[in-house]
């Protein structure tokens, strides 16, 4: 399995998507709803990536945007937000009706189980069997038989519903902080993040801030993706806007409403995509454009106040068995006495 051992993987979103994404590949959103990797998703769109297969637990705007751009031809989905209510034809409705994409409908639990099995290297994993009576299991999408099956519990003889494991080609992920090697730290709503990024063959990671490895070393419980899984690290403030990220910003509902409202017509949606994705070069320009259109105070109103986690103390004596005076706590002797003891016991082999 390919590992990514480069100690410094910092690059721009443009370089990361250009170097590590090929047309026709499969990918998973390793955040859903919370901390959406929207800067990275918009870069996929700007570079015109095509024929991608997306796994998404719960979409808000990113699935609709990728469909408007024509980036996807296969979609594995559990939930997609409908802000406009039942009367608006969404980009997803339109893409399905016009056969632009094929879809596989799963549940949050079963889609994530597919990732968990893939992450653990298992061919399949049991899921909650009661849903076998539903159309989620009975109606097959484009994956056909390559999703649910039923096996017999070898211990009780009862039937058990199982789902196949899957390893997407890459994951897109946005976190609060990472070091330059790609140890990524996320906190807040953990949802699918751990299993999605571990299932993927590689992770393209963006973060609000790149920090010293010392910060990571003192808080490893927050590391959700280890560096060897990560092929690129992109420092990208506001990288999840308009979704929310604890310690940084709340969600921006009015901005979202602008996108949802624009989706009422194909022309409106195209105008939104032109203004907020195609004519801005990167996330920095996107935020500059936002400030120009809505004002700095509108953006600043979403900034988070601080609510710091009480530090977990990762300290110890930071010493070997030999203390500052060269005296062993365990043996009650110094180094000379230790060597003399070894000699006396006849375990020292004499060299030159």
């Amino acid at each position: 399995m390919q590992k990514y051992m480069d100690p410094d993987k910092r690059m721009t979103a443009k370089d990361a998507i250009d170097r590590f994404v090929n047309n026709g590949e499969s990918f998973v959103f390793a955040n859903c709803l919370y901390s959406m990797p929207l800067a990275l998703a918009h870069e996929l769109i700007r570079q015109g990536k095509k024929n991608l297969m997306a796994f998404q637990q719960g979409g808000i705007e990113e699935i609709d945007q990728l469909l408007l751009a024509g980036s996807l031809d296969r979609l594995v989905l559990a939930y997609n937000f409908r802000a406009g209510g039942p009367r608006i034809t969404t980009p997803l409705d339109r893409a399905l009706k016009e056969r632009q994409i094929v879809v596989e409908e799963l549940t949050n639990h079963t889609l994530l189980s597919m990732m968990k099995a893939g992450a653990m290297g298992y061919p399949f994993i049991p899921v909650l069997s009661g849903i076998r009576v539903t159309d989620v299991v009975k109606r097959k999408g484009f994956m056909g038989d390559q999703r649910f099956s039923e096996i017999t519990d070898p211990f009780t003889g009862n039937p058990v519903l199982v789902i196949k494991g899957y390893n997407p080609d890459f994951a897109l992920m946005h976190v609060q902080r990472a070091d330059k090697a790609g140890n990524g730290q996320l906190w807040g709503a953990m949802i699918n993040s751990k299993w999605a990024c571990l299932a993927a063959k590689k992770v393209i990671l963006s973060c609000e801030k790149i920090v010293d490895t010392e910060v990571i070393m003192s808080s490893p419980h927050l590391t959700i993706v280890p560096a060897h899984k990560v092929c690129a690290v992109v420092e990208c403030p506001w990288g999840a806007h308009p979704s929310e990220l604890l310690g940084h910003y709340d969600y921006d509902f009015p901005f979202r409403a602008l996108f949802f409202g624009s989706c009422a017509s194909p022309e409106g949606a195209k105008a939104w995509m032109d203004e907020w994705i195609y004519t801005v070069g990167d996330r920095h320009e996107y935020i500059e454009h936002y400030v120009k259109r809505f004002g700095q105070e509108t953006l600043d109103a979403f900034r988070a106040k601080s609510f710091k986690s009480v530090d977990a103390d990762y300290g110890s004596t930071f010493s070997t068995d030999w203390n500052e005076s060269g005296y062993s706590r365990n043996m009650g002797m110094n180094m000379d006495e230790f060597v003399a003891m070894l000699d006396k016991k006849g375990v020292l082999i004499h060299g030159n």
Partner: protein, 272 residues
């Protein structure tokens, strides 16, 4: 503020009464979350609310935008993930109750939140299954709310299991014994499930609604309880809590989008 109320506020107020104190409750967004929070702020202060995103013991001061919105609470007590919720919590039988919104429902409380019309030639793709099938399938009780949905003889798409084909069929299909939906609250009244057949019947009316109005919405010959409870008006205290916590739930999504769009247009014109 007075005691004039919106129909969503009436649903929230009635649904909240179904949650008891000291219960562990899984809640989604919107009306469901407003009901859970109202219960916690009134008669069920020791209930523990969690969402399927893995946030345990949240204390929401506003309605979350979605099930993974941690900005609704100043921290929480246990951070796990979605697979932990469905396996270590739901599958192990720790969930007392769940609140869920309904798109289409049949006489045995089976639900559709996926497609309206033939799924291969549909008119609308609704949100999709999300966490609903396993929550309704495995929570001890499910309290259902329906504000824009419909009663049908046959679901266009069977997303979430209620009592399947009635009687004991739900338990024969593998769902936990004794589990299942206990109540449906619509914009017009309150429905429960018969103990033996598990068929929906009318148990109560919202103020000013007649049995005939409700029967007109239901395509099968609806059973009606001998005595019908009239849903109590939301109190002033309840209305204050609901409107402070979630004005968006009070007004409903359609009006919310209209109001917010006006705000966006206002912002854009100020900076033009």
């Amino acid at each position: 503020m007075g005691t004039n109320y919106t129909v969503n506020e009436l649903i929230v107020s009635r649904a909240a009464k179904e949650l008891k104190d000291n219960e562990l409750v899984v809640i989604g967004q919107g009306i469901a979350m407003a009901a859970g929070v109202l219960a916690r702020k009134t008669h069920a202060p020791n209930s523990v609310i969690l969402t399927e995103a893995g946030m345990f013991g949240i204390d929401p001061f506003k309605v979350p935008l979605h099930i993974a919105d941690p900005t609704c609470s100043r921290g929480f007590t246990y951070s796990c993930d979605m697979i932990d919720i469905f396996t270590t919590v739901v599958n192990r039988g720790y969930v007392d109750a769940t609140f869920l919104g309904v798109g289409q429902i049949d006489r045995y409380g089976n639900m559709n939140s996926s497609y309206l019309g033939d799924p291969d030639d549909f008119t609308i793709r609704m949100t999709g299954a999300g966490g609903a099938p396993e929550f309704v399938g495995y929570a001890n009780r499910a309290i259902l709310t329906m504000s824009g949905g419909t009663f049908v003889n046959t679901l266009d798409y069977f997303t979430s299991p209620g009592f399947v084909t009635g009687g004991d069929s739900r338990y024969e299909a593998g769902m936990p014994e004794g589990s299942g939906p206990t109540m449906l609250i619509t914009t017009k009244g309150v429905f429960k499930f018969a103990e033996d057949t598990k068929e929906l019947y009318l148990a109560g009316l919202h103020p000013g609604v007649t049995v005939e109005e409700i029967k007109a919405d239901v395509p099968w010959d609806l059973n009606v309880a001998d005595t019908l409870e009239i849903t109590p008006f939301p109190t002033e205290e309840e209305l204050t809590i609901i409107r402070t916590f979630s004005p968006e739930v009070s007004m409903g999504r359609k009006l919310q989008l209209e109001v917010v769009m006006n705000r966006v247009i206002d912002l854009l014109s100020k900076n033009a």
